[in-house]
Symmetry: C2
């Protein structure tokens, strides 16, 4: 059984007008939803690889803000990852990181399909509780 | 033009073993992805209603942890909302809240389809930057 190695709640920081302006200058945050279909027989190994990758990215990469990976309840082989990066450059840096490259090679034969949906924020609300 | 009334970055709080244990006792967090198709002609009004609802829920409801609403970049009428509640009871309380009921009646004629996908967390990683 997989136990979550780390478990994180989002905590809210209402951005000041200044903060928002800075984000705009940098091109704004880069948001993406990954829709992944995993080989059901390899689901435990896939989950472990995702956990490890997310743990490393959040700890080591300042531009990786949110990586929420979940399985659909009715079909756990269908995985979604909600991703927020500080900007496009931070996303590109993430793709080139050692932990991400290792993740990609580890899961290469576990993933049956991958769809990346780029997105534009409407409202990003979060808090700690 | 819609400007975001509030803009929030997730901030990381690595849960302690105790924190995780408390979440388990309460049945664990309730996670859902809403997939919404909006009438393109009413998209600005829809966005404003979502922003208002998310703002109120995050501020007023202790059990509403994350509400990330985004539009697909290639088709902004396709909206996804990534939702984390403290537990199922917090989700049910949210459905009964005044701001949510007002949102539902406001957007009733703007929403062409709604699919709610319940989900199980694999890894929830977030931080402030």
């Amino acid at each position: 059984m997989n136990t979550m190695q780390f478990f994180v709640y989002g905590a809210s920081v209402l951005a000041t007008a200044l903060g928002a302006a800075v984000a705009q200058e940098a091109g704004g945050e880069y948001v993406q939803v990954a829709e992944i279909e995993v080989d059901p027989a390899q689901l435990d190994a896939y989950r472990a690889a995702v956990q490890k990758q997310i743990d490393a990215a959040i700890q080591k990469e300042p531009g990786v803000l949110v990586l929420y990976a979940v399985s659909e309840k009715d079909d756990s082989s269908r995985v979604k990852v909600f991703e927020i990066y500080r900007d496009r450059r931070a996303y590109e840096a993430h793709l080139g990181s050692e932990h991400f490259k290792k993740y990609k090679s580890t899961v290469e034969k576990m993933v049956k399909s991958l769809k990346l949906v780029q997105a534009t924020p409407i409202a990003l609300g979060a808090k700690t509780k």
